[in-house]
């Protein structure tokens, strides 16, 4: 009786890890497959929903401007807030750049930040002396899909004034095509 009890106790002490190992191996293979180092990453949230498109071209690294329903962010640095109002005619929410941040179509704060980026980029390009690092005026735009074109136009106009005239609209791959 005593002998039997002892043996059972020794069997219970060892964990059966084989099934767990199987699971972990499958997870590991799946994660390794989906592992990719993209130049560009999107932090999707309620205020930043990137539209889906049939475009295939991979995004390249450039100055990153995020226009969410809350604010405008350049390369991770907050620049200005987006104003939320209510359209009196339709009663729908209306997003716009605050009037005191603008000079005509130009968004002053965004212009200052982008101009500094352009100058830094030009200096690096001149010092490096290689074509790859030359300033090409490329800018990545991550815009919320519900943003009205008036805001997009003002951001594009400001970028153009700050010498960034090659736009890359970041979209999520998918859809027909």
């Amino acid at each position: 009786m005593g002998k039997k009890k002892g043996r059972r106790a020794s069997v219970d002490a060892g964990l059966t890890i084989t099934s767990m190992m199987d699971m972990m191996t499958i997870i590991l293979v799946f994660l390794l497959k989906s592992y990719q180092t993209d130049d560009v990453s999107v932090a999707a949230s309620e205020d930043l929903q990137i539209p889906i498109s049939s475009a295939e071209k991979a995004p390249k690294l450039a100055v990153n401007v995020i226009v969410s329903r809350k604010d405008v962010v350049v390369d991770g640095t907050f620049v200005l807030d987006i104003e939320r109002g209510i359209n009196e005619e339709t009663g729908e929410e209306e997003l716009s750049i605050p009037a005191d941040e603008k000079r005509g179509q130009l968004i002053s704060k965004l212009y200052d930040v982008l101009l500094e980026k352009a100058q830094t980029s030009k200096e690096i390009g001149a010092k490096a002396g290689s074509d790859e690092l030359d300033f090409k005026g490329e800018i990545l735009l991550q815009v919320d899909k519900r943003m009205p074109f008036s805001v997009v136009r003002e951001v594009m106009f400001t970028s153009g004034q700050a010498q960034f005239s090659n736009f890359r609209f970041v979209v999520i791959k998918g859809g027909p095509g």
């Binding site: 190992m21 972990m24 191996t25 994660l31 539209p51 475009a55 071209k57 074109f149 136009r153 999520i172």
Partner: protein, 177 residues
């Protein structure tokens, strides 16, 4: 008895180090993996300056294809027979599937692709690849991306195993105020 026990122990693999490794790898890969693949749509600002001089007098006028996006639908304009007309009737109109274009889905992108396919057929000799988008101020950004998809290629028609290319170079104009 002791001999038998030693034999049993030798059969079991020590999986603990592998478990340690896998447990560290999984959180790392989970953090680094991206489940959404991104793409980019290139666009430039309209060029400012003198238009290039035509080399000979006999040259056909350029197509100058432009698509206006309003709350009633699309209006396609350009130097094509299908797009002729004067004043208010100028250009081909593609109304929304639902009146007032309440959602981005109600824009008839299929019909736009079909019309642009017909224009491309007539202009197949020239290397016209540009389209100018002229959206209204309140048009959501998502509609802009959907329209760019519709003008880029035709997923229903294939050429050499790829969707037929229509007008892949998009220029976004200032729009209708």
């Amino acid at each position: 008895m002791p001999k038998g026990k030693r034999g049993e122990q030798a059969e079991e693999l020590d999986l603990v180090p592998i478990m340690n490794l896998v447990t560290i790898l999984i959180p790392f890969l989970l953090m680094a993996s991206s489940f959404v693949s991104l793409a980019a749509i290139d666009s430039t600002l309209p060029a400012i300056g003198q238009p290039p001089e035509t080399t000979t007098e006999d040259d056909e006028p350029p197509l100058n294809l432009s698509v206006a996006i309003t709350d009633e639908g699309y209006t396609v304009m350009g130097n094509d027979d299908a797009l002729s007309g004067e004043g208010e009737d100028k250009g081909a109109k593609i109304p929304c599937r639902k009146p007032g274009c309440p959602t981005p889905d109600s824009y008839d992108t299929k019909d736009l692709t079909r019309l642009l396919g017909e224009i491309k057929d007539r202009w197949s000799d020239s290397d016209e690849q540009n389209v100018i988008l002229v959206p209204e101020s309140q048009v959501p950004y998502e509609v802009l991306v959907l329209t760019m998809d519709a003008t880029r290629n035709d997923p229903d028609t294939t050429e050499d195993g790829r969707p037929r290319e229509l007008f892949p170079y998009v220029v976004i104009a200032g729009g209708i105020q």
